[in-house]
């Protein structure tokens, strides 16, 4: 089966990016929007067509889905074995990601027509969106790890451009800068990881790397340092890169600030697609993680679990609705990462892997929906703070219903999709590591609580005085909401275990009720607490926060991680390293050079006196030197 046409999926947005970007001021916004959306629609259709062909028509070997290289061309030649190729790799996860990216991207394109209407930089916005879609497609279909890194950087920069979209707002500029630098910092480790990995395995190619029977996977077993093997180090370094993009603790600090960008951007990049790149990366390299570096996989599991707990706690204390969603995203990605961490390779062991991908899929749908819904709310009331909202269910019926569905989904209420994916993750954790299982269970409850806190504060609670009556968003905005709500509700019924598994073979799974029932109950408890606290104006939350004042303030200030970073960067790096280096360069290094010049000048000045122009002085020196020389010679020769 020929899949070569799949290169069109990334190429089309790229061409549109170039066109809109270069013609920026010369074309009408409507043209830009229709071009962007139209191009995306083509990619969308192609993605679904590809998925259909791949999952249902392609040739399976021994019942397993094969990795298909649809296209591959050498782009940059390093050595005979190491070269960056640009190509398209199709396997279950990349095809699934194509679906996710194209769906969310198309929805956001449509949504933005309404949301960004009348904005100065409308064309710019669409060109950046296209750039992002191009990069993200390129990332998911990467055939080798270096291609992934290339597009990894490109998504990073698109994210930077889109966060800083309102570039005249200092907070947006700061946020975009922060996002880029923090992820760049993580990417540095990614790059080092790639170098170490390629040094031991001699290849960048994913298929060679992840071939469980190949030789690459067994390389680098020797101990490097700190008791871990080279391969473990390489993979941990690579994972740090993934953690940076996926906002895992401790490199998560950019994600909440990234909410300075326009809301559709948050939905697309910072909820559904780019932030799961880290998960995707680990999934991509999963066989190596599992087979040759289980230590690294344990790190992955614990980082994920801790991040999900950490983020969930912060999310309960925030008032900015987009920030709550941002922390929620971080928490949910923590889930996916953990799921990978507790998974094994192949067969029933691989349920965590499948669950992670499943959750990635459902999360993309419902989190995008939540963000777009939040965007509709913000569009209506022009504020981000939930304290200035309330009772909006009357004004925004469609938003209200879709938002409620999304909240139920994320809370894990059956039969919505979130229930299925989260349940699989808990099952995997239950069988693998009980500590993680309990953490995740607790986080499930917290999730339900903070989501419904959000929901009740926005749509119920006391209605504040609005300056002008909020009104429902236009159809271009509500359509994506409805579409995504549909996806969020029903995607749980997709037979993921048959399609996306670690070794390509279908799994046979059934709900494990001893895990599912506690999960559902925890979720319901969370919802009920939120209902009690926030359905009507209530003083209980204040009292609780008063009683837990210390801890509350700690969580409210995001555990002071930002301050810690500020301290490290500004006080230590800027003042402790950079300023001394600047000083050192100007005064010591340059001072030495200038000193040499000064010394020359000084010498010249001091011997200038000899050259007085006084003939008699010269004469004296001449005569006495001549005599001394004569005496010296005579004594030397004759005595």
């Amino acid at each position: 089966m020929n899949f070569t046409y799949t290169i069109l999926i990334p190429i089309i947005p790229f061409i549109i990016f170039l066109f809109i970007g270069l013609m920026n001021s010369k074309i009408k916004p409507s043209l830009a929007a229709s071009l962007g959306t139209g191009g995306m629609l083509i990619s969308f259709i192609l993605s679904y067509y590809t998925a259909f062909l791949y999952f249902f028509k392609s040739v399976k070997v021994d019942g397993a889905y094969q990795k298909i290289i649809a296209f591959n061309a050498e782009w940059l030649h390093f050595t005979d074995k190491l070269h960056i190729d640009m190509g398209v790799l199709l396997d279950p996860i990349s095809v699934m990601m194509l679906i996710v990216v194209s769906t969310i991207s198309l929805m956001v394109h449509i949504y933005s027509i309404g949301y960004m209407k009348g904005d100065d930089g409308f064309n710019r916005f669409y060109s950046f969106l296209s750039l992002f879609s191009f990069s993200m497609f390129g990332l998911v279909v990467a055939t080798n790890i270096f291609q992934m890194y290339v597009f990894w950087e490109l998504v990073g920069v698109s994210s930077f451009l889109l966060i800083g979209y309102y570039y005249q707002k200092p907070s947006a500029v700061a946020a975009s800068k922060k996002a880029f630098i923090v992820t760049r910092f993580a990417d540095m480790f990614f790059l080092i990881g790639i170098l170490v990995l390629s040094f031991v395995t001699d290849t960048f190619d994913f298929i060679t790397l992840t071939d469980t029977t190949g030789s690459a996977i067994t390389q680098g077993g020797s101990i490097l340092f700190m008791g871990m093997s080279t391969m473990t180090w390489a993979l941990i370094l690579i994972f740090i890169g993934g953690a940076g993009k996926s906002a895992m603790f401790p490199v998560h600090i950019w994600l909440p600030d990234a909410m300075e960008g326009p809301t559709p951007v948050s939905a697309l990049i910072h909820a559904a697609t780019m932030v799961v790149a880290g998960v995707y990366l680990v999934a991509r390299l999963f066989p190596i993680f599992e087979i040759s570096a289980p230590d690294a996989l344990m790190v992955v599991a614990y980082v994920g679990a801790f991040s999900s707990l950490f983020a969930a706690i912060i999310a309960t204390t925030q008032f900015d609705i987009k920030r709550v969603l941002a922390y929620s995203t971080m928490s949910q990605i923590g889930y996916m990462i953990t799921a990978l961490g507790v998974s094994g390779y192949g067969g029933h062991e691989g349920v965590g892997y499948m669950a992670s991908m499943f959750h990635l899929f459902t999360h993309a749908m419902f989190k995008a929906l939540l963000f777009l819904g939040a965007g509709a709310v913000i569009h209506a009331v022009h504020t981000n703070l939930m304290t200035e909202m309330g009772g909006l269910r009357k004004y925004l019926p469609i938003t209200h219903i879709t938002f409620l569905l999304a909240c139920l989904t994320i809370a894990g209420v059956p039969p919505f999709s979130g229930f299925f994916s989260k349940d699989e993750i808990l099952v995997a954790a239950y069988h693998h590591d009980k500590v993680i299982y309990f953490i995740q269970m607790f986080v499930a409850g917290l999730t339900a609580f903070y989501m419904f806190r959000l929901y009740f504060r926005i749509f119920w609670n006391t209605e504040p005085h609005y300056h002008h009556t909020p009104h429902e968003a236009p159809f271009s905005m509500t359509f994506p909401l409805m579409f995504l709500a549909f996806a969020a509700v029903f995607s749980g019924f997709i037979p993921f275990e048959k399609l996306v598994t670690s070794d390509g073979l279908p799994l046979d799974l059934h709900t494990e009720w001893e895990v599912a029932i506690p999960a559902i109950s925890v979720g319901l408890i969370g919802i009920i607490i939120a209902f009690v606290f926030y359905k009507k104006e209530s003083s209980i939350p204040d009292k609780i926060s008063q009683n837990l004042r210390f801890f509350y303030r700690w969580a409210f200030n995001k555990f002071y991680i930002d301050e810690l970073y500020m301290f490290v960067t500004h006080k230590i790096i800027f003042n402790g390293v950079s300023r001394p280096i600047a000083w050192f360069d100007r005064h010591v290094v340059d001072g030495t050079m200038t000193g040499i010049g000064k010394a020359t000048e000084f010498t010249a000045k001091s011997i200038k006196g000899f050259q007085s122009g006084q003939v008699q002085k010269y004469g004296f020196v001449f005569v006495s030197s001549a005599i001394l020389l004569a005496i010296a010679f005579i004594f030397y020769w004759f005595y």
Binding site: S624, I627, I631, I634
Partner: protein, 180 residues
Amino acid sequence: MEITGAQIMFYIFAAVILVFSVLTVTSRKILRAATYLLFVLIATAGIYFMLKYEFLAAVQLTLYAGGIVVLIIFSILLTSHISEKFEPISKMKTIASFLASAAGAILVSSVFIQYKFVATTKEALNVDMEIIGKSLLSYEREGFVLPFEVISILLLAAMVGAIVIAKKSDDKIINEDKIK
């Protein structure tokens, strides 16, 4: 050892030369210094006579004692007040110069005293005007026509140069003042 008249003559000349040389370089009145120089030059001419180079002695008297000293005296009259006394010279300078000169004199003298000069055994030449004139204009061996010509050109050049330098050039001076 018997003292001959020649020896007495020599000692007188030598004494005159040395005493007046010292006076020339130490006198604080410039015109006197010039006069002392004249005596030195005349005594030198005497030494030439003793060495039987009469022509040379005559040249010395006319050119040196006559010409150059007169030239010097003229320039003194043009540039200095006769009654003017020089400022005393700083002691450091005097002592340093004296030491250098004395060291040089002792060194060279000791060399001369120790060195065994060997005279040629060839027959002495009788120096008369004919030989001098022929040698000066001869271009054969023992002929000096080339240095003679060179020296004449040098004299001419010096003469022209002296005139050009000493000529008053007002505009040039003004220009230089302007530049300052």
